[in-house]
Symmetry: C2
Subunit: 327 residues, 2 copies
Amino acid sequence: MPLYVGIDLGGTNIKAGVVDETGRVLSSASVPTLADRGPDAVILTMAQLARDVAAQAGATIEKIAAIGVGTPGMIDFDHGIVLSAPNLKGWRDIPLVAALSKITGRLVVIENDANAAAMGECWLGAGKGGNVRELVMLTLGTGVGGGFVVDGKVVHGKFGMAAELGHLVLIMDGEPCPCGQLGCLERYCSASAVGIWATRAVESGQASSLASLRSKGQEITSKDVFDAAAAGDALAKQLVDTLAAQLATACVTLCRLFDPELVVIGGGMIAAGEALLSPIRREFTKRSWSAVKVRTKIVPAVLGSDAGFIGSAAVALHADRAAHTVA
Amino acid sequence: MPLYVGIDLGGTNIKAGVVDETGRVLSSASVPTLADRGPDAVILTMAQLARDVAAQAGATIEKIAAIGVGTPGMIDFDHGIVLSAPNLKGWRDIPLVAALSKITGRLVVIENDANAAAMGECWLGAGKGGNVRELVMLTLGTGVGGGFVVDGKVVHGKFGMAAELGHLVLIMDGEPCPCGQLGCLERYCSASAVGIWATRAVESGQASSLASLRSKGQEITSKDVFDAAAAGDALAKQLVDTLAAQLATACVTLCRLFDPELVVIGGGMIAAGEALLSPIRREFTKRSWSAVKVRTKIVPAVLGSDAGFIGSAAVALHADRAAHTVA
């Protein structure tokens, strides 16, 4: 049975694993990226990790049908080049596909890391076993990211910049986003943004248990807000309700454009669990057409940090099959 | 050379034509839909029109490789069924693909009419000759509609309801839309909406040459607003600027999600020409990331009401090729 290696290249760690074509994860491992060593060394590390996870799965690298790599940054998909990756020192116009396939002798394909995670959740995560081919993933962490699966494939766009979910315009002419534009979803709904809203409310004098954190000089985090809401703090509850309404509004727009089977919510903020999902679902139901609200499910991501390498293996599988169809 | 029939099924007229695989339009014709006769009669009319345009192109129906039909309403793509079509009397759960292929003996495929128009513009309209595979089309008429082409194919979504561009949320918790929800793009930027905004402004006492229309008891149309703006009316100019900023905001969101090569603006309002496009482009440039504003072009649709049948022929061509690839 064909085996695929998926690699998730992150700024801190490289995670990789072997997945077979039925979706069994046969091995996985993680090593530090040590990005300071530069792209060549990092690519050698990826090649070695691919060999290691192949060996753990009882195979040699020669038995691997294809390798998929999920990378951050801007990608030239046509040429397999990482154009730039802010979190990886020296990564500018790096021909990753050519370099890694030269070292390993395998078919190598590249994917945006957020798209890879969406594909991973689609295949073996939130969509597991459902033959899901239409999925939107929204990742709520320090920033807001995500990816789309349309007709079983991720969407790249013409210039490799599709699925910038964090920068859909939530509020026209709204708050300035660090991206340089106004009103982006990320500026309202990232974990950092929740902390900023809470801080702003407290500093404007609104009564809240969160004020004590500020008076101790601590940053208010999104976790603090969810904890305070759970303890009954009125301001925190209001902040969560506003967040849920904003995220639901984004989900409504995404559903009207993509009509997915699943909207998967992932990222660090998902640690809040139903305290986050339940109000999003309530607001989504309120704001959706009747047909949509009963059909499209809003569900949590389940693979955590494994989604990237698993989705990268899925991308490798698709590329391998496409290569055989053409041949 | 393979020939394809495209049919655009509208509430008033059925338009059809033959297109060859290189994109030459060999024939076209239009007949009244006479929807009152019910679905069976309309399907017979479509079959006859397919034969007629084939004959005009010097072929028989047997020489047609496939027929594509663009239809309004809700579609079950998996089964080729028109679930409902508000503008076509009696169209509920109509197995259009089965019925039309039985009569004609041809491979028949069905497509949403707005998606078909997007595909038509992509192939032989605004995208002609450019091998465009990533395109967003926004149609500004009585309502706002449109379609997406992603990786050379239209996007259906899981339940056939993707690309409801008129109902992306432009203004969170904004004006009530006839769709039952709040803040939809259509509620702000359709031709009807422009008339409503103008009327509201005039009735609130704002000075404008448009006031004379109201005092004569006439409806203010979007054309009136563009005419008044061209004549220097300050209120009309402000309405056009607001419209352009709103449409540009929608384009920014669409570009961040799809990263298309072209955004094609079509529909009746495009009659305003550069008086509409130029301010949209100006606002789009102001609101876009630097990489996007120099790469994604905002262009007018060029096929008018021919886009539907041409795009339907393109869908037929793709289905025919896919059938041969599988075989």
